[in-house]
């Protein structure tokens, strides 16, 4: 029995080992026409640390870099390691709050992180990230003007934009007969589509939609305005099928709902799965989200980290990444390399005037405002029509337990005699 166990364990381990070998051999570039190739202008810049045997810790979102998994695409981390001789330890997180908790907790050091807009402004305030030496990141020149000096990092000293996108409404164009240009946020409150509407399951994004409808700033901290926004969300509760985040992919693809607000890049993926769907960015305005690369204050290899950020801004690399992620790129050269179809797609690249005038980036709110928002959100979500459900359920449980205990007691008494 032991021998068979050992054999099977060895078999499984050898399977994973050969898998490792397979991936190693595939990371070499393929020289056929459709494969992405990597041309670097200033190779000397990258050779500075070669042979020094250093490594950097990169902490990024999941599925947010080109891994070379698709035929002919680049494995960004492997290319970086090959070019510079610096080893990349690549780990992932799922939310900004996770990233924040890890940085704050200490004990783990990262060299490059990629937080979202509001988290960057929070980290700047708390001195968790350090200013970048832009002389070490010459490729910053490729970043388009629209995405420089944004509200969360006004002097653009701490971050280099990586991706951006807008929030819009995914809707079923077959069932909903309204032309795309006329769709606005109030459609999510429309009783005609009761129980066919999905909604964001996080306070910031949900409040943002309510705030746009009421004409408030997306970064308002005024308690009266926050309460009004919460009231608006409460009004919507009746028609909402479910509050979801990534469940929206499966629900919309399967046609379980007709309307869902979501991020533009992910909407593209959903639109691929279901031909009836379309994506509208409401004319009255929306949230612009930006993910940008930063270096934590506790980073051990600042120059190597800046080299990595510069590498991510190489045209071929930025293109490879954005091609994989399907979000929108702030990189002018990468944008030029995209298919014309993608460049003109209003889902990924709305009119730049619209972006400049009608979209707002999140900044971090004060602690009081955050607390109030989260409290209002919890109250709104947990309100139910039957407030008697939980107390009655508790009473029933207690009665059952009491009943069982009394029966056991009686039985025991009977057995003793």
């Amino acid at each position: 029995m032991k021998r068979k166990f050992a054999f099977l364990a060895a078999l499984m381990m050898s399977l994973t080992m050969t898998a490792g070998c397979a991936s190693d051999s595939d990371s070499e570039e393929e020289e056929d026409g459709s494969a992405q190739t990597l041309t670097i202008e200033d190779k000397d810049y990258y050779k500075r640390f070669k042979g020094d045997d250093i490594s950097i810790n990169v902490y990024n979102w999941g599925e947010y870099i080109s891994t070379g998994a698709d035929e002919g695409t680049l494995d960004v981390n492997a290319e970086f390691e090959k070019l510079t001789g610096i080893k990349v330890n690549y780990t992932n997180y799922a939310t900004n709050e996770e990233l924040y908790a890890k940085l704050k907790g200490g004990g783990t050091t990262y060299d490059v992180i990629i937080p979202s807009d509001y988290m960057i402004s929070k980290m700047i305030k708390e001195k968790l990230i350090q200013p970048l030496d832009m002389e070490n990141i010459p490729n910053f020149r490729y970043i388009m003007d629209n995405y420089r000096n944004l509200a969360y990092d006004p002097e653009n000293a701490y971050s280099v934009p990586y991706t951006w996108g807008t929030v819009g409404i995914i809707y079923n164009a077959e069932e909903i007969d309204i032309p795309r240009e006329e769709i606005d946020w109030d459609i999510l409150w429309n009783k005609e589509y009761k129980d066919q509407i999905l909604m964001f399951d996080n306070p910031r994004d949900a409040f943002a939609i309510a705030e746009i409808m009421l004409g408030y700033s997306l970064n308002t901290e005024d308690p009266a305005e926050l309460k009004a926004a919460a009231e608006k969300l409460r009004e919507q509760k009746d028609v909402v099928q479910a509050y979801v985040m990534d469940e929206v992919f499966d629900k919309m693809a399967a046609g379980e709902a007709l309307l869902a607000p979501y991020y533009a890049g992910d909407a593209l993926t959903i639109l691929e799965d279901n031909e009836d769907l379309d994506f509208a960015v409401p004319k009255s305005g929306t949230n612009l989200f930006v993910d940008a690369m930063c270096i934590p204050t506790s980073a051990k290899q600042k120059e190597a980290a800046e080299m990595y950020i510069n590498f991510m801004c190489e045209p071929d690399i930025a293109f490879a990444n954005i091609d994989y992620i399907c979000y929108s790129t702030p990189h002018s050269a990468a944008f030029d390399m995209l298919d014309e179809e993608v460049q003109n797609d209003p889902v990924s690249y709305p009119d730049s005037e619209f972006i400049a005038n009608k979209t707002t980036v999140f900044v971090n709110l004060s602690d009081d405002a955050n607390e109030m928002m989260s409290q209002l959100w919890t109250e709104m979500k947990s309100e139910t029509a039957n407030t008697w459900f939980v107390p009655i359920f508790l009473v029933v449980c207690i009665l059952i337990i009491a009943f069982v205990l009394i029966r056991r007691h009686i039985k025991r008494k009977k057995d003793i005699f």
Partner: protein
């Protein structure tokens, strides 16, 4: 009535296994969707083996699980031997302490270990990494081993050990030849349980992992912001197959051994 019982059993098994079955089916799906099956393809399996991040986190997970379960089995078995020969009061106290990591919610264990390691990280050059992760896993694995081995001691005749020594064995030899074979089933099941818990653990690993590597559950969780790729379905199918085959083989061997015991070879 018996028929009803069988139907109920079938329903329960269905409830347990249909999600796994759906997972397996969608690992062959042509698109990334988990709700609409569009076509059959083995693509995701090929992509899985080329995905450095998933494979490296799988290898990390297996290494941690194997290392943690081996160390915790040794520690747990030694502990059980010691606890077995304690008097009643110290025994109860130690067993209660042992039960704490099991009863505690994982998040409590995870956060408290993280705080402990942070405390030491501030005072010595301790970085979160393989060591902290391993220590955390051993911490919650050892109780399971102890709980698996202790009943075997209760089942064993305590005088066998003394009898072996009377017949001339040194204490160590007596342990090896008499006690160990008796408790071996408990040790093996403790090992398997701690291996399973380590392989599967998310919460505690999440709080104690370092910045240079991550385990598979953490990788999968980080994919949830975008869509979880069907490569994970493919990986899960493979893991399920391996476990399934191991269990079948184990059961077949046990049945054969039982038959052998009953038919021949008895004293």
């Amino acid at each position: 009535m018996k028929k009803l019982g069988k139907i109920y059993l079938a329903l329960v098994l269905l409830f347990l296994y249909v999600p796994i079955f759906v997972l397996i089916v969608f690992s062959f799906n042509e698109t990334k969707s988990s709700s609409v099956f569009s076509g059959f393809t083995l693509d995701w399996y090929k992509r899985l083996f080329n995905n450095r991040i998933i494979i490296s986190s799988l290898v990390n997970t297996i290494i941690i699980a194997v290392a943690a379960s081996i160390i915790s089995t040794i520690l747990g078995t030694l502990a059980a031997i010691g606890i077995n020969s304690m008097k009643r009061v110290p025994k109860t106290v130690v067993m209660n302490v042992t039960n704490m990591p099991i009863i505690n919610p994982e998040i409590v264990t995870g956060v408290s270990l993280m705080l402990l390691f942070s405390f030491f990280a501030a005072r010595m050059t301790l970085e979160f990494g393989f060591v902290t992760l391993l220590i955390a896993h051993i911490t919650f694995d050892v109780p399971y081993v102890i709980l698996s081995v202790m009943p075997k001691f209760r089942q064993m005749d305590p005088h066998l050990y003394e009898a072996a020594q009377d017949l001339g064995c040194s204490p160590l030899k007596a342990f090896r030849k008499v006690v160990l074979p008796e408790i071996m089933p408990g040790v093996v099941s403790g090992f398997l349980m701690s291996f399973t818990y380590s392989l599967d653990d998310f919460v505690i690993s999440y709080f104690t992992t370092g910045s240079t590597s991550q385990t598979l559950p953490i990788t999968i969780y980080s994919m949830t912001r975008r869509k979880v790729s069907p490569e994970i379905n493919a990986l899960s199918t493979l893991i399920f197959l391996v476990v399934f085959i191991v269990l079948i083989v184990k059961n077949v061997i046990e049945v054969k051994a039982a038959k052998k015991r009953m038919s021949g070879g008895g004293f």
